[in-house]
Symmetry: C2
């Protein structure tokens, strides 16, 4: 139907017409990269989804305003190390200044610049540092800057998260950050998607929302919806290739899926990736609610960390989520092995199961026997290191 | 208005007309006490609340049936080490056999015997062991058996949980177990309350539900609603004193409050007790939802474990729970010290705050500025030991 999609390098700068650069301006005490600019050669059709948290941060409000104005953006400036959230009017002024400084340094309109921040909540930005970082990054923008940008947006991430896909005539690139405060309810982290396809503007927005719904909105690490999350996509059209709606949606879905999975694999303290699939639910809403309840259960997550097939905790979570579920119609599989069926104790080859659970990517399938809706949610296990990272993450 | 309530000893056997005994019948590999019987000299007016989990265990179904029959009970037999949950028809037969064996050994009607179980889900009871334990316990029932009974119902609890209150002319006793799989949604653990007051039967049920709503239903350790939970109350009338509705409700509330707090203090891996108070909400439902979202946030709980006043995580959780909350009207206090106000960064004496957070019992107060409803929820912090206990709890 449409060209095969192939992975390649280059991240957000893989599509034609984009460049990026990063700086270490001192927002992170570690001295690591903590600010980046991603910019296109010309104005891009833009689309975005934002956090549903009532206390969305200043950059979320500003970016929404800049996108809603005319639907176009040319650049985004991102800092890590400080979320610029719960910072009131001063935070809003700081976000505006970030956009203006980036716009000024590149000679573009400040309303065409998006802003994103991630890090500690409730602290004002040091704008001297930010201004220095913006000037430094703007001075060295280049078409191989994608990886530096991906590194600059990291917080408790242990690895940068990038993707580039060749989709026949056009290319899609992406980068994301996120390891904690991750819960599906839009969007649970920062992600930036670029493409050089020519797009139908409205269709671009629909394709992004659809991709986000099936990827970033189906991951959970700790059940906490952040104040700062956004997924932002920009289409430069520089390939001169008009993307069909279906192939664009497919490409965005693949890019978002890759980045969402990378976030869960890099979840704070995670040692295992767990795909929770809820089958035979009455509706997709029911399936997702049940899958998320299982995926967020501290008891399930610690059992998987321990390599313990404690499926009683799985049925407990399902029974908590679906108040009229019928145990007689249910079935639970761990790593493809049936562990519970029809409300009765099953004969299980525990040795085989324990062996299967030593893997790094595990499957948990629950069949509710109520309908034909199904949803897959991704989560990770819950380890000592999750506690270590979050008890010692300094405010 | 009514007599002062004073704490005393004796637990569930403190009220006149009750006796108890425990046995170690081998359900726990440790050889610790794992079965007990609590019985009255005559039939008692009974009241109970049960788990809302769809997959309630066999003993929950049986006890509900026995109470609903005529509202009276004379005894309860409880085992730990096995939840008799997700055990289908055989589990139901085993629960019936437990009631019959206990009834037969005491010469009472099996429909006057309640059954409760707690432990691993999804394993059939070893009824030979259970029968031995029931015979042993029944043979040595005595009026000082309360503490043995409280020990026999423990699972991952580190201390038994008992209370006895002298309420003027009558006495209320209680015991409870619970340390994990604790989430308010009825009832999140096992608790047994006794009294020698003469009670109005319907009023007794109302008083119990009211007490449970304000105590056991306002605690959370890990957000997981168990399959086996019940709070069961029996009134022997042996004091000959008729309890007024208000003083009975007050006494039950005090007893339940003590036991609920004891459960949270003994939460799996807990090092700190945290009272989360949500003030100025539009409704009690909103206040409780917001308080529980904060109390169950893994990020908040790990921050408290680390002694870190990371209040950004508190506002994140509130903003997740109350989608139209106004940061400009909000205020957050940790240990009585204002840390966030009106959506702006506050000046905080961090040294004083860090010092206050070294305590064992901490207060977290959130003022939403939306109305006049408030709710207090109790939780504990989230430590390395929570992970250790739950990654190594063997299925």
């Amino acid at each position: 139907m449409y060209a095969e999609v192939k992975a390649s390098g280059g991240g957000v700068c893989a599509p034609r017409g984009f460049k990026a650069a990063a700086a270490a301006c001192g927002l992170k005490a570690s001295g690591d990269l903590d600010l980046c600019i991603l910019a296109a050669d010309a104005r891009c059709a833009a689309a975005a989804t934002f956090t549903t948290n009532a206390f969305h941060a200043a950059p979320v409000a500003l970016t929404r305003e800049h996108i809603e104005e005319d639907g176009f953006l040319q650049a985004v400036v991102v800092n890590s190390g400080n979320a610029n959230a719960w910072t009131g009017e001063r935070g809003m002024l700081d976000a505006r200044d970030m956009a203006s400084l980036a716009a000024g340094s590149m000679g573009i309109d400040n309303r065409d610049v998006a802003v994103a921040s991630t890090g500690v909540i409730g602290r004002y930005l040091d704008m001297d540092k930010v201004a220095g970082g913006i000037a430094e990054a703007a001075a060295k923008m280049h078409a191989e800057g994608g990886s530096d940008a991906a590194a600059a947006i990291m917080t408790t991430d242990t690895v940068p998260k990038e993707i580039a896909l060749e989709c026949g005539g056009f290319t899609v690139g992406g980068m994301a950050k996120g390891a904690g405060m991750i819960k599906p309810d839009m969007a649970t982290m920062l992600a930036f998607i670029t493409t050089d396809a020519e797009v139908d503007h409205a269709g671009f927005g629909r394709a992004l929302r659809s991709a986000v719904d099936r990827t970033f909105n189906r991951i959970t690490i700790d059940g906490c919806t952040s104040t700062n999350d956004m997924v932002l996509a920009m289409a430069s059209g520089a390939s001169g290739v008009k993307a069909e709606a279906e192939e664009l949606e497919d490409a965005l879905h693949k890019a978002c899926s890759h980045l969402a999975r990378a976030i869960v694999e890099d979840g704070e303290g995670a040692t295992k990736f767990i795909a929770v699939r809820m089958h035979e639910a009455c509706s997709e809403v029911e399936a997702k609610h049940a899958a998320v309840t299982v995926a967020e259960s501290a008891l399930v997550k610690t059992a998987f960390f321990g390599g313990d097939p404690n499926w009683g905790r799985v049925v407990q979570a399902v029974g908590q989520a679906v108040k009229d579920a019928d145990p007689g119609k249910m079935r639970v599989k761990i790593c493809g092995i049936t562990v519970a069926e029809a409300g009765e104790v099953s004969e299980v080859d525990m040795e085989k199961l324990a062996e299967a659970m030593t893997g790094k990517a595990l499957d948990l399938d629950v069949f509710l026997g109520r309908g034909d809706a199904s949803v897959e949610v991704w989560t990770c296990d819950f380890s000592y290191d999750y506690v270590k990272i979050n008890a010692e993450y300094h405010t």
